[in-house]
Symmetry: C2
Subunit: 302 residues, 2 copies
């Protein structure tokens, strides 16, 4: 063992494990200069990955969609993720896997296919999409005026770092003392927010947008739990008006789990308190972390 | 002087000058994980920056639009650019200035306003948007099927690294043995390509798109030269059909200057040879590099 300090997290980059604060990439990598990069995030809860297989599947799909192939195999990537968590002795962690386009092997080439793709990963202590106290009192959600980038221009199901529109929405929200924002597309349909999917509940029926959104793994869990709990749930077009008229709203994210919304713009939902459907689904979500087949125990001996 | 090798280029990062291959950023910087970053590129030709003031002006506008402010003043940034070029003894260079969002000062914050913005710059040998031999024979341009991200979602006049749609267009072009691509917006209007503005000439009249595009400095130069040469020139909506029916097409970019197009999809322009308007404007462009008030001599003594 080296005498380096891995307590803040561990990264794997260019084939080596380093303390996360020492991880670096080149500012000339196309992953930076063209945001030509795909990633995924899985979380570790109480010593186990949650739905690791699903995250690896999605990560592979994202790489294929952008024609990227790093040197590491899926099995190696899985081992690397375990080791990043293990080296930092994290029991609850945010674990990122990232494939970067790299730089061209041929000087002066402008062709993505000439680039040497490479893989990086890191595990850090669990991070939430909103601070803990906001999660407890419930999120105040702003419906941004900036539209979400269209699905035809950038496929939102391929997890990417192109957050410019989401960041603009977030700045709008913060300017107005809201916690975060949800974006609509140019046709007025609700999409997603910075790092999360959105769900609405109306007269006991649960729905989540069919467009402009990542196919979140937590979103998928919620859809499954709805079935288990007997709620009718659907992936459907949701107009801006429907979110303003919802009985309940909640957000889903790997980083943060399920987060209740108590206000949307000037509307106060359910007496400014998290709703009942949220409570039931959230309870089931965390119960699944303890019991279910979705757990992959971290190999701390690695 | 250190004994490090600056011959491949020099970068300024975290307050220090380093060989460009040693420059690094954190993969946890929001400039990477949210592509929350603005940049500009100026070129050095024969020992002088070209239109440096205009590039610095635009860079400042981009930073303001994204509410970023690094520690370095405009004057310091200018000195840093000189020094990056001087340390590598470059006479013809591609010089990038980049402001990164950074990471939040407060652990766990998701607010852009909590981040410590920082500045980086680098000078490397001149790079072209297309290889030299392609520039000489003329570009074969593909009109991509993927649409450009809308101006309302992401302001294209704020120079950014979010190239996903442009990269998709580039891959389409390469699959079909074209050199590069131009994208149309979802309404069918021509916008720009990966790293360049586009101009068309029809019956002696020159025009360039009014939307979906960076307000390029080379584009501005060309508009000025058109006036000087007596061509009617305009910034106007250009439908896809108009580019296919053009007499001449050329591309403009800081990295590459003015580049002629000889084919667009299956259409061959002007006998597969660069056109006359291109030749005249290009000649004037390079003449200006030698003579004009646009030159800022690099301070190699710095």
């Amino acid at each position: 063992m080296s005498d380096e300090d891995f307590s803040k997290g561990t990264a794997y980059v260019r084939g080596a494990f380093v303390p996360v604060d020492k991880a670096s990439i080149s500012p000339l990598d196309w992953a930076f200069t063209r945001s030509d990069v795909v990633y995924d995030v899985v979380h570790v809860s109480n010593g186990a990955f949650f739905r690791l297989v699903d995250h690896l599947d999605r990560f592979e799909r994202s790489m294929r969609a952008r024609r990227m192939k790093p040197a590491e195999s899926r099995e190696q990537i899985e081992q690397i993720l375990h080791r990043c968590v293990a080296m930092s002795h994290l029991k609850d962690a945010y674990v990122a896997m990232v494939t970067l386009r790299g730089r061209p092997r041929i000087a002066g080439s402008r062709r993505p296919s000439d680039c040497e793709n490479h893989f990086l990963a890191y595990a850090i202590a669990w991070v939430d999409i909103v601070p803990k106290e906001v999660k407890e009192r419930g999120v105040r959600l702003w419906i941004a005026s900036v539209p979400r980038v269209s699905d035809r221009a950038v496929d939102p199901t391929v997890k990417n770092y192109q957050w410019n529109d989401l960041t603009s929405g977030l700045m709008e929200a913060h300017d107005r003392e809201f916690d975060t924002a949800v974006l609509c597309d140019e046709d007025g349909f609700v999409t997603e927010g910075p790092g999360f999917n959105v769900f609405i509940v109306k007269e006991g029926k649960v729905s989540t947008p069919d467009r402009g959104s990542l196919q979140g793994i937590t979103r998928r869990s919620v859809l499954e739990f709805c079935k288990e709990l007997g709620y009718e749930a659907s992936i459907a077009p949701i107009l801006r008006g429907a979110i303003e008229a919802a009985d309940e709203i909640f957000l889903t994210s790997t980083a943060g789990g399920i987060v209740p919304v108590v206000r949307v713009n000037q509307t106060i939902l359910g007496n400014d308190r998290p709703g009942m459907v949220f409570e039931k689904i959230s309870e089931l979500y965390w119960r699944n972390h303890r019991e279910s087949a979705y757990r992959t125990d971290v190999n701390y001996a690695t």
